[in-house]
Amino acid sequence: MPDKVSIRGVWKSFSTDQGQLSALEDIAFGMAEGEFVSLVGPSGCGKSTLLNILTGFERPDRGKVLVDGRPIERPSQRGILITQRGSVFPWMTVRRNLLFGADGLPEGERESLVRHYIDLVGLAGFEDSFPWQLSGGMLQRVEVARALMARPELLFMDEPFGALDALTRMRMRSELLHILSRDRHTCLLVTHDVEEAIHLSDRIVVMTPRPGRIQCIVEVDAPHPRVMSSAKLVNLKERVLRELGLSASDVERDTAPRPLPASPRPSVARRRTMRRGARAGPEPVQDSERVDVLVIGGGPGGASAATVLADNGLRVLVLERESFPRYHVGESLVPALWELWDRLGVTAQIEAAGFVVKQGISFGMFSDPEDVVLLTAEYPAYFPRSYTYHVDRARFDAVLLDNARRKGAEVREGWTVADVVMRDGWATGVLAAPNGEAPRRIAADVVVDATGRDCLVARKMGWRRPDPALNKVAHYTQFAGGCSRDISELIPTADRIPGSTTTDVHTIDGGWVWYIPLCGDTVSVGVVLDAHHAGKLSGDPEVVFDRALTGCAKVRAWLDGARRTMPVQTVSGISYINDSFVGNGFVLVGDASMFVDPIFSAGVTLAIRGGVYAADCILDAFQHCDFSADRLKPYESRIRQPMDRIFQMIRHWYAILEGGHTDNMIRRAREIPWLRERLIVLLSGGYEKMDLESFVRSVKAAS
C-alpha cells in the first residue's frame, strides 16, 4: 500500500540577518494510513517548520510533500493542525467553535456531529460555555474535537499538550489514544517529550539539532495500552534520549564520523545506517568495508556468537585464520550443550554427524582397581538428553561454523587479523586480510574476539592472567588402531546406548591422563601434569608424554598395539581468566576470555555458552545503539558464574590430587547418593543447576 503521506527530500531555509539559515535538510519519510508518527528533536530543529510545510502554510525550497500522491498547495481541511498555543476561538462558545470546523454540512448533520464529538471528548454540558470558562485540558479537548469535526484525513499536532501541567498532559495522552481508537486518523505529533512520543506513536522520527535532519527512525513495537514503566519502553526511551545526544558515552563515540555502510539488512542495521547518514562528515581513515559485528575466530565461541547475531538480522563477518576442517584439542563434550544447540538451531546437524556417544565419566582414582563411573543417565531429569558426544573437533567445529553461515553470517577462512583498531579506547574495527596479504581496515560496531588461546585483545590490553595455582602442562596426541577399551560392563543395560563410551580420567603421579575414544578406532589421549613436576621430567614432549603414561597401567593396556597418528602437542600454563571480558566496542569469547583445565570437559561448553550470551548482550547493545563496556558488561557477569564454579571444582580436583586424599569426593560418590547426584549434574555441564558453594561445603563437612 502506498504511503498516505510521503515526504520526499524536503529542504527549507530562511533568510536572516546572518544570511541563509538552513532549517531542514533532506527530510524524507512516509506515513501509512492510520499511522501515528512522532517527530522529536531539540528546540529549533525545524520540527514546526516541517509541520508548516505539511499543513501547506509554507512551501519547501526543495523536495515535495505528497498526500495520496498529490502535492500540498495550501492549508486545507484534509490536514488539521493542533498547536500548543491553542486556537480555540475565545469569542465563541464551545458549540460554535465546533461548528466552525464543520461548515458546509446540512444543519441537522452538523448538530448531530457536534453532539458526537462533544461526547467523544467528554465535554457534554459545556456546549454553551465560553473557552475562558474552561480549564486548559478542556480547551485542548475542544481543540481536538473541532479538528475532528472537519473530518480531516490527517491530524497534525505541534506540542499540543506542551502548555498543560504534567498530570493533565498524561491524562490528555490517554484521552487522545481513546479518541483515536474510535476515530482513526493518520497523525503526526511534534513533541520534545520523548515519553509522550513513545506512549502515543507507532514510529518516532528523531531529528538532529539545526539544521534539522533525520537522525533515525525508531519503531515503537508495543501494544496499547502501553505501560511506560515496562522495561522495554524504558529502554526505548533511553535509546531515543541517547539519539538526541543525551548520553555522554554516545556523544564521545560519535565524535569520529564514519562513512555510510551498504547494509543489506533491515531492522536494527538499517536504522543505524540512517543515524550515521545524519552525521556524515570528513572521514579520516577510509574503511575498506564495514559490518555490524566482526568475529575473529571461527571456533565454537565465535561461530555461536555469529549464529545468534546473524539470525537476528545483524551483518556479521567471521574471520578465521585457518581453513576448516582443522585439528583442535578438546573432544569431550557435556549433555548441557543440547540446550545451547537448540538455541543455535544446529541440533539436527550435530546428530547427523555421527559422533561417538559419551554417557558419562569414569574416574580411575589412585590406582583403585575399580573405576568410579558417573553416568548422566542416572539422573535424567536435569538435561534434555542423558548423553553427549566425543567429537573430533575438526568436524564438530565445521558443523558449527557452517551453521553460522546458514544463519546469514559471512565467514572467510584463511584470513588473518593483524590487530584490533582502537580509537580513544574504543574498538572500531580490525586490520585484516587473507593470509599473506597486507592488512586493510574493516570497520565494525562491535568486535568479538574469539581467537582462542591467542587472546588477541586480552594480550593487547594486558588483561591476560594465568592462574598460578593451576600452572599445568598438557601433552596430548591421538592414537589409532588396536584400541581395546570396552565399557559395556560399566553401563547398566537399560541405559546403554549402542557404541557408547565414557570419558576416562585417571590419576597418575603428578597429574592425570585422559582417554577419549573418537570415531573409528581413534582415541584422544593426553596427560596433564603440574608444571613443576613436568619440569623434572625431560624437556622433550614425546618423552614426557610416554613417561607419564607409564604411570597409568589401564590406559597403557587399552593402547596396546595402537599407533600414534600425530606428534605430541603441548600446552603449558593452561588456565587463565582475563581481567575483563568486555570493553568499549568489543567482547572476549571462549578461550580468548579464559581457559579452563580440560579435566571437566568444560572448554567447549563455556565457549558456546559465552558466544550465545555475548550475542544476547550485543543485540541489546544494538537495540540501544550503545556499545560501551557498561552496556556489554552483563555478558561478562553472566558467563562468569558458571566459569567460577568450574574453576572452583578444578581447584578442588587438584587439591585431591596433591593431597593424595584417599578419602575424596569422587570416591565417596560411590556411597553417598546426594553427592553422586550433584557430581553428575556438574560434570554434565549443569553448573547453574547446582548450588556449588553449599555443595563444596557439604563435601567438606562429609569428609
Partner: protein
Amino acid sequence: MKMLRRFLPFGAVALLIGLWWRAAANSPIFPTPPAVVAGIVELARDGTLIRDIFHSLSRVAVGYGLALGLAIPLGSLMGWYAGVFQAFNPMIQLLRPISPIAWIPLAILWFGVGDTSPTFLILLSSFFPIVVATTSGVHLVERQYVRAAQNFEVGGLRLFRTVIFPAALPQIITGMRVGLGVAWLVVVAAEMVAINSGLGYLIIDARNAGSRYDLVVAGMVVIGVIGFLLDLLMRRLESLNVVRWRYNNAR
C-alpha cells in the same frame, strides 16, 4: 472595611460639595449646592432640560454613529492591509492632534449654524480614537486564530466576520469608549457656538440671558452625570461574553 471602601467615592463627592458650599456661601454670584439643585428642578419642570438633553444626545448619536461606520471599516482595512495602512496612517496621525474645537470655525463656514456642524465635529472627534484602536486591534489579531481559520478553509468576508473582527473587538470597544467620551466633550463646545439648543446652548444661554449661574452649574452637573452614565454604558459592553476573554486574562 469593605463597607467603608464602598462609601469612599460618596465621601469624596460630599467633601467636594462641602467645600463648594463653604466657598459659595459668601459669594453673591456663585451659587450654593441647594441653589443648583433648585435650578435643575426648575429646568426640569419647564421641559427645557429634557429637550436639551435629547438634542445633545441625538447629535452625539448621529455623529458618533457615523464615526463608527467610517472608522471601523477603515481601521480594519488599515490593520489588515499594510498598503492601506501606509496610505492613510500619516494623514490620520497629522489630523488627530488638532483639537475638534479648532475645527469650529471651518465647520460653521462649511455647514452653517444648525445640526450639521456639531454632528460633523462629533464625527471628527470620535473618529480618530476609534480608527486607531481598530487598526491596532486588527493588526494584532493573534496569528494562530487566523491560521486555524485558514486551516478550516475559511477566508474572505467570513474570515473577517467570524474571526478577525471578534478578535479585534475588545480593542475596538476600548477605542469606542474613548471616542464617546471625546464626542460628549465636543458636543457641548459645539453647541455653545454654533446652535440654539442642547446642553451647551443651555449653559451659554443661562449666562447670557441673566447671569443665571445656578443654571450654568446645573447644566454642568447634568453634563457630568450624563457623561458618567454614557461611560458606564460603554463599560457594560466590555463585560459582554464575546469580549470577556480579553479582559479575563488576568483571571
